[in-house]
Amino acid sequence: MLAAKAFLAILRRDLVVTGREFVPFLMQALMQPMFFLFIFGKVLPGIGLADPHLATLMLPGIVALTGMIAAMQGVTLPLVLDLGFAREIDDRLLAPLPVWCVVLEKVLFGAMRGAIASSVIFPLGRWILGDGFVVRPDRIPALIGMVILTALVGSTIGLLMGTIIKPEQISLMFTLIFTPLLFTGCTYYPWGALDNIRWFQILTLLNPLTYCSEGLRYAMVPPIGGRPFPTLPLDWILLALCVSVVVMFLAGNRTFYRRVVT
């Protein structure tokens, strides 16, 4: 009971702090997807350099990437600073709740940020793409589920990163981890279209973002030419994402504990 109260108070603390910086948070999360949507969804098809369907296929990838990165950033950066030198988290670690609850709060809070950032892509996409904004209306529950799952995948990866990275390594690690994550995650292309580059297709399966992008394509892309759009099978997607969340949480929780209790 006391632990539950402490947990809610810690979550409230993070919400209050983020609430005060909500506009900067949105700008940080949305600047990149906004330009991606504009260039790839509007400019390139407009000058005949890309297929008009590209926007429809890319939108789910952008939703996935935005949610994942917003969730990761919400966890990784504060953790690196806190565990590195600020130790502001000490006050929460001295609260009467188990250490893993402090970790769980971080993950849930990060996921909230991710889910909010993902959700904002929809009105943004509608505004930028206009008629090019197409989302199938009959899989809304799946869509909501995938947005949440994607956010959890991002926040648990962020947890592991945040507990491993040292403050002085931040910029290097962001390049080493974010860049491959970004480009091997089937964000800008559907997985099925990689048949011709088999080795790369297999490589993308190692990236959790691939399953997020494909899952969101399953929920968002309407049938094209009367045929449902092919994605990775949904049960494999769910399995991969759940495994990622659980494994990253357990690993991150372990490294976190080692950092705060010696």
Partner: protein, 323 residues
Amino acid sequence: MSAASAIRVSQLVKRYKTSKTNAVDGVSFEVSRGEIFGLLGPNGAGKTTTIGVLTTSILPTAGSAALMGVDIARDPIAAKRRIAVVPQQSNLDRSLKVREILTFHAAYHGISRKQREARASQLLGDLGLGDRQNEKVNRYSGGMAQRLMIARALMHEPDVLFLDEPTNNLDPQSRLFLWERIHELNAHGLTILLTTHDMDEADKLCHRIAIMDQGKILVNDTSAGLKKMIPDGTALEVRVHAGAEKREEIATALQAIPGVAKVEARDGDAESLTYRIQANSADTLIGPVAQAVLATGAEVRDLSVKQPSLEEVFISLTGRHLR
């Protein structure tokens, strides 16, 4: 363990993975409820590690530690409810405003909104932070941050307060302010364990002091008890108005007083001279010393008892200076 103990540490050992020696090496001590207990020693003596074990952030390699009867390793959450920690360096939540730092801390401990607001107002007032409660801590000086950390520590009404080097880096005024608060809190029944490498601080604040060095507790006693450990440690200093011809006679008379171990003349000029008289309990010799001087026809200008400092105790125990 007696019911009155607030802290009981038994054969505590901590060895960090990367280290070849024990940071804490078989330490045992007990702190009674309502006591101010000091761990005194140089940097690296194992004080902060001992506090870490007692405040759940460090797991002991061996031995045990209990707090208000709760085994800390077995039930860290129960221990956390009863303690508060003021660390060496600020770990204040810089994303929150000053008042919120207090109210959120209380919320983490399950205290109701009404109570936490009332308590925050009271503590901000008591610690002289009321005017700046809606600022963030970035603009706070070291002394104010320290006071705020103490206010935060008191929000959930702990049984035991841990202060790790509380006055390190504080200006003299803030230090005095803090000492007064510590006495006040203790007067209200709070048990306090503090670490320090400042002899004066340990002497002024602590009921009992354990001197630590290289992971071990060398001695554990009251300040007065520790000072008695130095043989013939107390001294009387008497300044005498006398010409050169009388000085030898006075020294002989002083040396003849029963209980006097050694007489030393120092700081002389043409008119007066100071004698330092070492004895086991010099304070009992004030009368005889004055009489002996007067009997030679000389005048006593000043007479004072000199206690040995804790610094001298430390040096006599370790052969080294503290800093």
